[in-house]
């Protein structure tokens, strides 16, 4: 197992190298010039050229790439073109809100969706099943921003129960921290609840027709034990897979929610940096996202071995 994990970690290096080349090349091929953006509307061509030189953008692209990679290998993500701040500091500032939102969303989604999916499978064809599946269809169909606006209108504007927007770090108070995350979490979790509930229902349904489930029932075991210990455990592999994919999608998918709720997270940083053509920041964030994706896949693969002893690496 440890050899497998080590192999997978080593394999991360070429993956990250390919991502680094791709993200660097794509940014340079995208129209737009950070120097022009920095210079402002009334800048002359000479002003823009001077800024380009200062940022090192007048050098050949290959040279720029090797300078960047050199710094990267020394752990230096560079300095933002715009903010005169180290990219590492910018990213660190933004990690907290995104991790908090993603964690709360995935926890809430799993806590709600897995029981719903199990119950829907157990009561297949009943009104509960139809309600859960109807909710799933709705969750897939309604855009995230619409859900966000509706929740804001009801719970923040009309009822004044929760704040409209913003983020409060945990160190500034637990109440404010949770209060600011409730609506974004509910908004973002709708689609994940729909996704996980559907997959859970399908997986459990498949397992429920197996002989060992019939045997368990024949032994007189209560439904709760049969469902939780026999059915759900054996249906867990696809569920864990979809949760893993969900977490990966979540990291990239928080952009809209962060915008609607004005949460200063990594999603917003990415969008702002792309629009401003802040190359060092975009490169750093994309690399970070890629690393998270790769590591999540590894965690999911390792989790399989605990859920299903037949899986060995």
């Amino acid at each position: 197992m440890f050899a497998y994990i080590a192999r997978r970690l080593v394999a991360t290096i070429p993956v990250m190298a390919i991502v680094a080349v791709l993200v660097f090349a794509m940014l340079r091929l995208t129209p737009g010039d950070p120097a022009s953006i920095i210079a402002g509307a009334a800048a002359t061509s000479q002003d823009v050229a001077e800024i380009r030189t200062r940022l090192g953008l007048d050098r050949p692209i290959v040279t720029q790439f090797f300078i960047w990679i050199g710094h990267l290998l020394r752990g230096d993500l560079g300095e933002s073109f715009f903010f005169k701040k180290q990219v590492a500091d910018l990213v660190l500032d933004r990690v907290g809100p995104t991790v908090a939102l993603s964690t709360m969303t995935i926890l809430w989604s799993v806590l709600v969706a897995v029981p719903l999916g199990v119950v829907a499978a157990w009561k297949q064809g009943s009104w509960i099943d139809r309600v859960v599946m109807g909710f799933s269809v709705l969750g897939f169909s309604v855009p995230v921003f619409v859900i966000g606006y509706v929740l804001i209108y009801v719970f923040a504007v009309k009822l004044s129960w929760l704040p409209v927007q913003g983020y409060q770090p945990l160190r500034d108070g637990f109440g404010g921290f949770v209060g600011h995350l409730v609506l974004p979490t509910l908004t973002l979790s709708v689609i994940y609840i729909a996704l996980i509930a559907r997959i859970t229902r399908t997986s459990v349904l498949e397992v429920l027709s197996e002989d060992y489930i019939r045997t368990a029932h024949a032994k007189g075991l209560p439904n709760r034990i049969v469902l939780m210990h026999h059915a759900l455990r054996n249906a867990a592999v696809p569920i864990v897979t979809i949760i893993g994919i969900g977490i990966a999608l979540l990291v990239g998918g928080v952009v809209i929610t962060e915008s609607v709720f004005s949460i200063p997270g990594l999603g917003r940083l990415t969008v702002d940096a792309v629009l401003a053509r802040d190359y060092p920041t975009v490169q750093a964030v994309i690399l970070l996202f890629s690393l998270v994706y790769v590591l999540l896949n590894l965690v999911v693969d390792v989790t399989y071995t605990f859920l299903d002893p037949r899986i060995r690496y």
């Binding site: 509307a41 005169k84 004005s262």
Partner: protein, 527 residues
């Protein structure tokens, strides 16, 4: 056990609500949503309006333009001009301090003028008249000129980007092409660098040792008396969320709410609109004068006949309450505003436009019209231009792109078929186009001009003449002559004025009517 969990949940909820309530009672903090995130904090290095606004928070200027368009002393106590107009002697007010507590000196001011003069277009023009500076004592210095000019006061009192902000000498000695990293100013607010989180918020606190002028505030001039302890610029990228936050009382002030959301503000009993910039903004169509067919003045003139301002303003702003057609290049209602030479222009006279195109021998060369799709106040301009141009006989290739791509592409001098461009539309704050020298699109110095690179010796001669003139009546005559010369070989087309009210909560008062959003004199009472 279950009940205990429920009790714990409610307890946590109550704690959460209580902590939110505590946040809501910060009566002396003004929560503001500005038009953009503050990314660059050097107001000389960039002309971005958000950075200019930041500049007015923490820096002060020697002179400032009042609500009547007149330049008034600001940091300056008194000034004299020698009879030959060649020496300006400026004496600073008593008690001016930098945020670090050290006094503002003449040397600081001279270094600041030099840095601004090396970067800003009007500053460069002014500096072309400056022979040298003489520091007389810590509070007095002289500006010695080569020849008389009206640009000294006009430049040093300039009300918009890039304003000549005064900085300590150690900061002003930074190359104008390098960003400063020391944000010590002498303005009414102190920038809290440690609390600045790009993409989230910028924080300013009242500078207790700031010594305001005794006069009431007027435009950018007068007493800058700060009446709140703290101003937080919050970044709320989504306009609907910003309005919701305003309604909920989390935000006090939105600088530029979208026009289509203004009815929501009007209908809420706790909110109001504040028209703090009566000069507004001006739309403009910019030609690339170096490429076909806009290298031919007659083709450019054809657009002066093909366009009309109302179509553009209707398509973008919509509500006539917030726009005005105005055939005065230097803004209606200002000292230099005039309709001279504008008879018959901007009336969508397509017959005349077609006639001019025929005389010019227009061969159907496609106009590559850059269409920015992501800025609401600009998005609908290009489709209107395309429609009017096609009705006049132009062939138009409108290309969609985000604003930042447009900004990068407009600096390219390549032919349109090789990644260049023919035309685009934008908007200026009216305060930036009040005279022939500050109107950047009028610069017709060929390669040295702004993107579009018009080349017109007559306009340049008149702009120089304006720069040398000190008599307001003669300045007006020259401005009119510039406008007439412009009709013969246009550098751009001005497409009407539009206004942007701020959305604020009703307990916020004391707004200063000025071309720049400023936060002195504003009060926040308990709702």
């Amino acid at each position: 056990m279950f009940l205990s969990r429920i009790s714990r949940f409610f307890l946590l909820t109550v704690v959460a609500m209580a902590s939110l309530t505590v946040c809501a009672v910060e009566a002396e903090t003004l929560h503001v949503v500005m038009h953009s995130d503050l990314k660059i904090v050097d107001p000389i290095w960039t002309t971005a309006y958000i950075t200019r606004n930041h500049g007015y928070m923490i820096y002060d200027t020697l002179f400032a333009t009042d609500a009547n368009g007149k330049v008034q002393p600001q940091m300056v106590d008194k000034y004299t001009v020698s009879p030959d107009g060649l020496v300006y002697t400026l004496t600073l007010r008593d008690g001016l301090l930098w945020h670090d507590g050290t006094p503002v000196t003449s040397e600081d001011c001279v270094a600041s003028i030099k840095r601004w003069g090396a970067k800003d277009a009007l500053g460069q023009k002014m500096m072309s008249f400056v022979k040298d500076f003489t520091v007389v004592d810590p509070k007095t210095f002289r500006i010695n000129l080569n020849s008389p000019t009206g640009l000294v006061l006009l430049g040093l009192g300039k009300p918009s980007s890039a304003a000549p902000f005064m900085m300590p000498k150690r900061v002003a000695d930074t190359s104008p092409n390098e960003q400063i990293s020391d944000f010590t100013g002498s303005g009414p607010f102190v920038f809290k660098k440690d609390e600045w989180k790009p993409g989230d918020k910028a924080v300013y606190v009242k500078f207790d040792k700031y010594k305001p002028r005794s006069e009431p505030p007027s435009g950018m001039a007068g007493g800058k008396v700060v009446k709140v302890d703290r101003v937080e610029w919050r970044v709320v990228a989504d306009q609907q969320t910003a309005i919701n936050a305003l309604i909920a009382g989390e935000i006090d002030y939105i600088e530029q709410p979208a026009h289509d959301l203004l009815p929501l503000v009007k209908s809420d009993p706790n909110l109001k609109l504040a028209d703090i910039n009566p000069l507004g903004n001006q739309y403009a169509f910019r030609y690339n004068s170096t490429v076909k067919p806009f290298d031919n003045p007659k083709v450019k003139q054809a657009l002066l006949y093909a366009f009309n301002q109302k179509d553009f303003l209707e398509a973008t702003i919509g509500n006539p309450e917030y726009y005005k057609t105005c055939l005065e290049m230097f803004i209606c209602g200002t000292p230099l505003g005039s309709t001279k030479g504008m008879d018959g222009l901007l009336t969508s006279n397509f017959a005349k436009a077609k006639q001019l195109l025929q005389e010019a021998g227009y061969d159907g060369t496609p106009i590559v019209l850059m269409h920015s799709t992501d800025l609401q106040v600009l998005t609908n301009l290009a489709p209107v231009a395309k429609s009017l141009m096609e009705r006049a006989g132009f062939k138009v290739d409108m290309q969609d792109m985000d604003w930042q791509t447009l900004v990068a592409r407009r600096s390219k001098k390549d032919p349109p078929s090789q990644g260049g461009w023919s035309a685009f539309l934008t908007s200026w704050v009216s305060a930036d186009v009040l005279n022939p020298v500050s109107t950047a699109f009028l610069n017709s110095s060929c390669d040295k001009a702004l993107f579009g690179w018009p080349c017109d010796a007559e306009i340049e001669r008149l702009r120089d003449q304006f720069a040398r003139e000190t008599d307001p009546a003669k300045q007006k005559a020259i401005a009119e002559a510039v406008q007439v010369a412009w009709t013969k070989d246009p550098t751009h087309v001005f497409l009407g004025q539009w206004y942007q009210p701020a959305a604020v909560r009703k307990n916020i008062n004391g707004f200063v009517v000025a071309p720049v959003t400023v936060f002195w004199n504003i009060t926040k009472s308990t709702p």
